[in-house]
C-alpha cells in the first residue's frame, strides 16, 4: 500500500489555516495563535508567582507550590473542562471554546513557568544577591536589577522548551471541538476514511517541524545568552 499524497494536497489549506476565508482561523494557524497567547499569558502569570515563591519562604511558598502541584496533578483535559464550565458559571454568560482552551493552557503552563523561575533564581550564586545587599540595595532592587535579569537569561532554553510543550498541548483542544490542527486533521480523516496514515503522519510532521525548530532556536538563544554574560 503506497502513500497517496493527494489527500494532503487537496486539504492542505484547510489543514494549514482552517476556514480563514470565512473568518474562522483553524488548523496550524489556530494552533500557533492559541500557543502564542497562552504562552505570553503563562509567562505573565508564572514569573511573578515564581518570584513570590522564591522571596517568601514558608507558608506563601508552600501554598504556591501546593497550588501548582494541584494544577499539574490533574490531566490537562480536566483543566480545560473546568475553565470551560466553571468560568461562565461564576461570571455568567458563555465563553468561546478557543478562549477556554487558551486560558486553561495558560493556567496549566504557568505552574511549570513558576517552577522554572524558582529554580532559575535558586541556581544563581548566592554571592550575587549578597554583593547587591552589601552595597545598600533593597530586596526589590536586588531582584529587579541583579537577580531576575540573570535568571531570565539562563531560563530562555527552559521557557522555549515549555513553549514547545504548549504547542503540543494545544492538540487537547479537540475535547471542545476547537478546530486546531489535530482536530482539523481528525475531521479530514473522518471525511476521507481511507488515508489515516498519510494524514496523521503529515500532521505529526507539521508539529515536529514547529517544535524541533523551537528547541533548536532555544538552544542557540541559550548559548548566546550565557556567552554574552561571561
Amino acid at each position: 500500500m503506497l502513500f497517496d499524497p493527494n489527500v494532503i494536497l487537496n486539504n492542505l489549506d484547510y489543514l494549514l489555516w482552517g476556514r480563514l476565508a470565512q473568518g474562522e482561523p483553524g488548523g496550524l494557524l489556530l494552533t500557533v495563535l492559541i500557543s502564542l497567547v497562552a504562552g505570553v499569558a503563562s509567562l505573565a502569570l508564572g514569573i511573578p508567582m515564581g518570584l513570590l515563591a522564591w522571596s517568601k519562604p514558608g507558608l506563601i511558598r508552600a501554598a504556591l507550590f501546593w497550588w501548582a502541584d494541584l494544577i499539574r496533578g490533574i490531566p490537562l483535559i480536566f483543566v480545560i473542562f473546568w475553565v470551560y464550565f466553571l468560568v461562565p458559571a461564576l461570571l455568567g454568560g458563555s465563553m468561546p471554546s478557543a478562549l477556554s482552551v487558551t486560558l486553561a493552557l495558560a493556567w496549566f503552563t504557568s505552574a511549570a513557568v513558576m517552577h522554572s523561575t524558582f529554580a532559575g533564581l535558586e541556581a544563581l550564586p548566592k554571592g550575587q544577591g549578597e554583593a547587591a545587599i552589601a552595597s545598600g540595595m533593597s530586596q526589590w532592587q536586588t531582584l529587579r536589577w541583579v537577580l531576575l535579569p540573570q535568571a531570565l537569561r539562563n531560563l530562555v532554553p527552559s521557557f522555549v522548551s515549555l513553549f514547545a510543550s504548549l504547542i503540543k498541548d494545544t492538540s487537547l483542544a479537540f475535547i471542545l471541538n476547537v478546530p486546531e490542527l489535530t482536530m482539523v486533521a481528525s475531521q479530514v480523516n473522518n471525511r476521507t476514511q481511507l488515508y489515516p496514515s498519510e494524514i496523521f503522519l503529515f500532521t505529526g510532521a507539521l508539529y515536529f517541524v514547529l517544535c524541533s525548530g523551537l528547541s533548536w532556536a532555544g538552544q542557540r538563544l541559550g548559548r548566546s545568552a550565557t556567552e554574552g554574560s561571561s
Binding site: M1, W54, S55, K56, P57, G58, R61, A62, F65, L70, G73, I74, P75, L76, I77, F78, F81, W82, F85, L86, A89, L121, K126, G129, E130, A132, I133, S138, Q139, T142, L143, L147, A164, K168, D169, T170, S171, L172, F174, I175, T182, A185, S186, N189, P196, S197, I199, F200, L201, T203, G204, Y207, F208, C211, S212, S215
Partner: protein
C-alpha cells in the same frame, strides 16, 4: 449553584465510573510495563558503542518528543492498526473472556492496544531521557576513577555510573510514570472507556457537569497520590521537601537585618 451528587454517584453513572477507574488502572499498568521494556531497549541503543544504534535512539527520541501524544495515538489507532494483518485484527475483535477485567473491561480491543502502545512508546522516550540526564549528572571523576582501576566499559556503567544515575533520576522517572497515568485521559479521543470518557458520558446523560468533573478530578488526584506515595517509597535518595520549603533566600534575611 446546587450540587446533586447522587446523580453521579449512583445507578448507571456509578457503574460507568467504576468501569472507568478499572480501565484507567489497566491502561496505566499495561502502558507502564511496555514503557519500561522499551526504555531498556532505548537505553541499550543510546549507550551502544555503535554509532548507528545511538543515531537510531536519538532520532526516535526527537521524533516522539516533538509530536503531540494525541496525534501519535490517532496514528497508531487509525493508521498503523489497519496495517496489521487481517487475521490478527479479526482475532482481536472476537470476544476474549480470559482477557476481560471485572466490570466488563476488555483488554484485547483496538482501542486498548493502540492506547497502550502509543502511551508506552511516548513515555519510554521521556523516561529514557531522564535516565540519560541522570547519567550526565554523575561527575566525570567517577568514570575516570573506575577506568583507572581497570574496569571494562560495561563494568563502569553497571557498577559505578548506572547505580548513581538511577538514584539521580528516580524522582523524575516516577514523575514520568505519574504523567503516563494522567495522559491516559487522552485515550478518550479514540473511545477507550477510561475515567474521562465516562465523565463525559455522565455529563451528556444527565447534564451534571460540575459534579461529574469534580468526581473525575478527585479520582485522578487520588490515583496519582497513591501511585506517587507507593513509588517514592522506594526512592534511594528520599529527599526532604521541608528543606526546600524553608530555605531562606539571601536577600530577605540580609535586607531585613540592615
Amino acid at each position: 449553584m446546587t450540587f446533586d451528587w447522587t446523580g453521579v454517584l449512583s445507578g448507571a453513572p456509578l457503574i460507568w465510573l467504576q468501569t472507568g477507574v478499572v480501565t484507567t488502572l489497566a491502561i496505566t499498568l499495561a502502558a507502564s510495563l511496555l514503557a519500561s521494556l522499551l526504555t531498556l531497549v532505548l537505553l541499550a541503543l543510546r549507550l551502544s558503542e555503535r554509532k548507528l544504534a545511538r543515531a537510531l535512539a536519538s532520532s526516535v527520541t526527537e521524533l516522539f518528543r516533538n509530536t503531540p501524544l494525541l496525534v501519535q495515538i490517532l496514528f497508531w489507532y487509525f493508521g498503523a492498526y489497519n496495517l496489521l494483518p487481517r487475521d490478527w485484527r479479526d482475532w482481536i475483535n472476537n470476544d476474549h473472556p480470559w482477557a476481560t477485567l471485572p466490570g466488563n473491561v476488555p483488554l484485547l480491543t483496538p482501542e486498548f492496544l493502540a492506547s497502550a502502545w502509543g502511551l508506552g512508546m511516548f513515555s519510554a522516550v521521556f523516561i529514557a531521557e531522564e535516565i540519560r540526564a541522570g547519567l550526565q549528572a554523575v561527575p566525570s571523576g567517577q568514570r575516570e576513577a573506575a577506568i583507572s582501576q581497570g574496569f571494562a566499559p560495561w563494568q563502569v556503567l553497571r557498577f559505578v555510573l548506572l547505580p548513581q544515575a538511577l538514584a539521580n533520576a528516580y524522582q523524575p522517572v516516577v514523575g514520568q510514570y505519574l504523567n503516563l497515568m494522567k495522559l491516559s485521559s487522552l485515550a478518550t479521543a479514540i473511545g477507550l472507556a477510561e475515567i474521562t470518557y465516562q465523565v463525559r458520558q455522565i455529563e451528556s446523560y444527565n447534564s451534571h457537569a460540575l459534579e461529574a468533573f469534580a468526581v473525575g478530578t478527585l479520582l485522578y488526584l487520588a490515583i496519582g497520590l497513591i501511585m506517587g506515595r507507593a513509588l517514592l517509597h522506594f526512592d534511594p535518595k528520599r529527599r526532604r521537601i521541608k528543606k526546600l520549603l524553608h530555605a531562606a533566600p539571601v536577600i530577605s534575611e540580609a535586607a531585613d537585618a540592615v
